[in-house]
Symmetry: D3
Subunit: 291 residues, 6 copies
């Protein structure tokens, strides 16, 4: 799938394919939570209220987000209703949620369980809230989408504009400080570390933010500006500043960013960095530049 063209299959198809998936993950989550509640009475109340008292993943997630994002002027019951309505009626969001849970579980060695991700990963929670805000945005309920956006930015320090389009199987690892602009597009199976910026170029509107291809890995603190295309399977080194296109399956590092292997014949890797999460294997090739 070309970056920028997120084509969702029709809801019905997804429903048939994913229902078992969703059910299986939810069963895992409940099993984990029950085990933890038994082992740790001090946490049992929390686990029952957030997970074990609910009849489905969408109810649990709606409850958790409602309580995380509420404020004295945006009540938890209102947010709970909003999330539950969106999640119940949209199989695409639900299947993306499941894919995101799987992504964290597979890619992050510090992720000990699905329930750990569901309850504690601010990147996961911010992303699911974004999915609902994005749905509101596309339904022209923009002030509500922006209010949600603002709460997510306050509570999680993750700032994803509700208009941004985001694929499935996304891992926002650590997530603090991530900024994703209005016309940015993120493909499937992308991994993005904390402090990453997908930013614009100025005060003119229009299509002005990066397009991130499938399977891309963006290291901590990388800044990508403008309507540039990061090719599928590319890798952006931590702290890089990227202002022009990066070809597929190449690695860009440094500030300003350079392609590992050189501009003309950059080194190409075979793996999908967004999934393999290999942040540093380019060091051997990059070693001339460092220390």
């Amino acid at each position: 799938m070309p970056a920028g063209e997120l084509m969702y299959p029709p809801d019905q198809e997804i429903k048939e394919a994913e229902e078992g998936e969703e059910g299986w993950v939810w069963t895992q989550i409940k099993t984990e939570a029950r085990r933890d509640a038994e082992a740790e009475p001090a946490l049992a109340s929390y686990l029952y209220s957030t997970i074990l008292s609910h009849s489905s993943l969408e109810r649990s997630l709606s409850f958790h987000l409602g309580n995380k994002l509420c404020s004295s002027t945006l009540l938890s019951t209102l947010l709970y209703d909003l999330f539950l309505n969106a999640l119940s009626s949209d199989a695409n969001i639900r299947s993306a949620t499941v894919a995101d849970l799987r992504a964290a579980h597979v890619r992050d060695p510090a992720c000990v369980s699905f329930s750990h991700c569901l309850l504690n990963y601010k990147g996961f929670l911010a992303c699911q809230a974004h999915r609902v805000a994005h749905k509101l945005w596309t339904q022209s309920r923009r002030p509500l989408a922006l209010a949600l956006h603002s709460r997510v930015s306050d509570v999680f320090a993750v700032d994803i504009h509700p208009a941004a389009r985001i694929g499935k199987g996304i891992l926002f690892d650590h997530a603090t400080g991530v900024v994703v602009g209005e016309t940015a597009v993120i493909g499937n199976n992308v991994s993005i570390l904390h402090h990453v910026t997908l930013g614009g170029t100025g005060k003119v509107g229009g299509d002005r933010h990066p397009k991130i291809g499938d399977g891309v890995l963006i290291g901590a603190g990388a800044t990508i500006l403008g309507n540039v295309r990061i090719g599928e399977g590319a890798k952006i080194g931590a702290g890089s500043v990227v202002l022009i296109d990066v070809p597929p399956r190449t690695t860009a590092v440094g500030n300003p960013a350079r392609l590992v292997g050189g501009k003309e014949r950059p080194a190409k890797h075979e793996d999908v960095p967004g999934e393999s999460m290999d942040h540093t294997s380019f060091i051997s090739e990059w070693s001339d530049y460092i220390i």
Copy 2:
């Protein structure tokens, strides 16, 4: 105005000049809020409590900040009182608030309305809270100023020391992670992106933080350290690390930062980057360094 010398006109003068301005913006905000409340019943309660039930911009802003920044040990009523007293009695702060609203509206293409900025922009809100904390600081109410500072850092992840002096027409865009040190000075019409640091140089006190001239634009993640002077209308590229002075209307990029066009004869631009928000036009000149 030279950076570091924020000279405010006397209150009375400002009052005469700005009252219409303030009234006009407030009327806009109420109109926008009323329109949104009608279109979106789920948000109407929020819009009434934050905007439509109030008789002035300063009351609305005091209410909103009081509810955003309160905690179980710093009650909203106390903060509301504090903000309202400061805003009511200080026309300079009020006119700066209006200038900041205008700055977001003009410079940020994602800013759809004044009310959007007033309610949702953590950079705007953190800056207004800072203006009040700064006033307390200058009145020698330092423990209270620091308590406020701490709440802003917790809630918005924006860390502006209450002693820092900040001009008018400031846009803190996205704002997460901004750090502004004790002796920093920021001129008028400056735009500062998220993760920007205006930091000190060590453990010795005294004047040790940057002075940012009028009309400067500082890109995301830029770090400026020490009592250095960023000349008026200069542009600091995203991710740059700046440790020495940058001349007016030049562009510094990279880590360590270099002047675009070279140290000896740097390229000079005509526009005011803090207002034009042009982040990336230097790419053509910088392209040798990248990818």
Copy 3:
């Protein structure tokens, strides 16, 4: 002490040595708070509830953390109990807390008092909460440790994995955006600025995060990735990206980072940067690279 080998003396020994220390600091804190409460009635209620109504530093800190970190699903009484139990029973944590308070007081010129640090420094508070979470982790109460970790990341935007080992006399200055990974180790008397990442290298588990020696100073926004060793007394410049070992008492700067003085014969400094907090004295040697 070699980085990675935090050897605590037995509790009893510490108790004898540090009790006077702890008592002295607590007396200072109460004196400061009483002075501020008298000078600022608007803050007196806050100072009494957080400090003056408590009989010990550990009770005050437990109360403050409980109220800062609680949520609608993790009640303050539960957290207060948890912190108080951990702090009361562990003299090591208490002496580390005192050393951290002293570190902020001595090294940060903006730190006006011990009570200022205790109440307002999110880096200090996040670090103490981490000490308790780490204790839970070593007691195999991992889900609880992770829940605490998550609250600290939400509330303070400081993300320290509960398994990370951290010495005493630590200053997390400003602290927003700090990420410390699961197998990271931080020695004693280290100073770490905001946005610093001590990150991993991929999705494989095992020992994969940096080891930071005693007395190291890490500048704002620096990213250190992988199981690399930052030698004691080394200095990492702001915004640096470090992927391989840094020798003791040398300075690494830039992205990619280079040793000041060159890879072969790097300049060595005498002072302990983690304590002297000298961020920028290398500029003269680094000036070729900049502007």
Copy 4:
């Protein structure tokens, strides 16, 4: 209908008959709330959050009860869910709610509107919460029913055992201090003032509380104890203590209660006191006893 035999028609029948009724009342409520929100900006937020943002009476009521009855250990989202599920699935409760709203509107001259009753009448709100608690009780979800019972007793000072059976068109006027025991039954169109007790007789279980017939009026502070029968259309004077049966359409007054007109040939009235709310017309006959 004999007291003690509350026979509900099948759900379907009610649905057909009452839907228009429910819709009509809901339309009235929204109209009233919109009028009040326009006239009183200070109340608009409250009216939007409680009424105008909701799509049905059952949602508005569930939201309002959830927020009124929640506590730090019983969250509003949980209660909202509970109420909404019960109200959505039980047309009998919904039609009783509507009948209760009408009862307050018709019988209480201080009731200025349906929305006034919905938002402000603790007797009305306690009664609706009881209807849901009673449903839970009959579904053998007794601990939950009792927890709800306890919250209603704390918040509204209205103590109705969840096992008690209550008809439709009930007005609990003022309501503070009402106590209704486990085996009590209240018919239709009954009006009960504050401080009324329908109590038991001792520590033996079984059927031990009063049965109140249709159309009964029970004055403020009246105490009725034991499995006695208050005949349809009877009137119990304020402050009366009743320990034996009261025949239909008679009036019992005093402590101990006597029948107006005498035990043998008591005076009979034609009107339905539970609807006419005539508290004091018996004074002429009772005047020998007073002042």
Copy 5:
């Protein structure tokens, strides 16, 4: 003053007469609070937030009522504003507040200080909230007045219709369960115990509630119904049910109530029972009726 005719002197006159009074009481309250804060650190935070941080009695009371009466849908800042506006602009209410404080202090032997009454007496607090609600009612802000009325009834279990007119120097002792109807009038220097009802007679509107003369004492649980006149200085025994007029300076007891001394030549007392609080001196005359 005849019951039912509360004639307030013009604001200006009161201001001159009472300012010293108000200032003196406020000084007493602060002195008491400071003494208690010093003696009891656990309460100091509470005393500072409610009393010692405020610059006037009206601010302290507004803060306290705002925090007592707020809910998740009626925020404390809104209520604080409402109370402060009303109290600041109405010298009559302020002088009534002071007179009520004095009444509790003089008449209730369990009232240990003015601050005790200000903070802890629900009867006092409910009465002051009523004074503000009544002001709103007379300004035709009826929905807001009724919302306030409802909160007072929920929080304090004191139910005073906002239209009821109440004099100065009122003691609602214990106060739980008090109900005062829409057209009731209470004179000056009246003392009313808990569970007292001043109720109506039916569903017809109009003037239908009791008129209580100056200096009346109404014992616990007394019920007075209808547009009857309780003459100045009369005493109503605990648990009495009164349905017709009671002459001045007489005592009515029992259910139904009788005049002590007989209907024709009732005993007259010289003292003012509303001030002397003599509840039981009539026992000698009543003893024939009891035990």
Copy 6:
């Protein structure tokens, strides 16, 4: 034990005798809570936070009271600490708590379990909070005792002066509206229904409230005024107004109260009404007076 002379055995003795008792009841409570949590997931979080996460009855009760009685100005952590300190250090209070739990369980047929009483009985909770407030009172911490008293009166509508002395095995059934004055004394094994007043006689201080002997039963709405003695095992009918002494094991009914059987040779009963809870067996003798 004569009413008015509550003689507690020394702490040590009680400890030995009651520890098994306390442990046994706590085990029952946990068993019940575990059963209910399994049967009702919606309540499990509540049961874990209030009971199952705690290691002792005193911790569970302290947590529950702290969360019930806290307000925005009296934080739950402060109250939790206060209750836990008092309960941990006073075996007398703990044994009284257990006796009260047993009393509710044995005497109230609507009490389905110990945990039901612990969580839901406002009379039980108010009484335990009173026991702690009374302890504070006797320690001359009167402002704190009165603040607690006020919270109990607000939250539970139960108003027991902290100076009042109360024995063990007390059942406050329903409890709303109970008022117990400063110098009142309540013996052991007493049962008191809702709306009962043990009130004073005027504005003179000193010993002015009732003394209730062991085993007394006081019916709903009864008012007992003055320093009168209700003999052990006496029964006071619902709604009675009692102003003079009542002999042991007799029954007083009516307003004004008379002795059943006549003043000269009142009927004496054998049972202990405070335990048998027989409210109405006197009807046969009283029937001449009614209906």
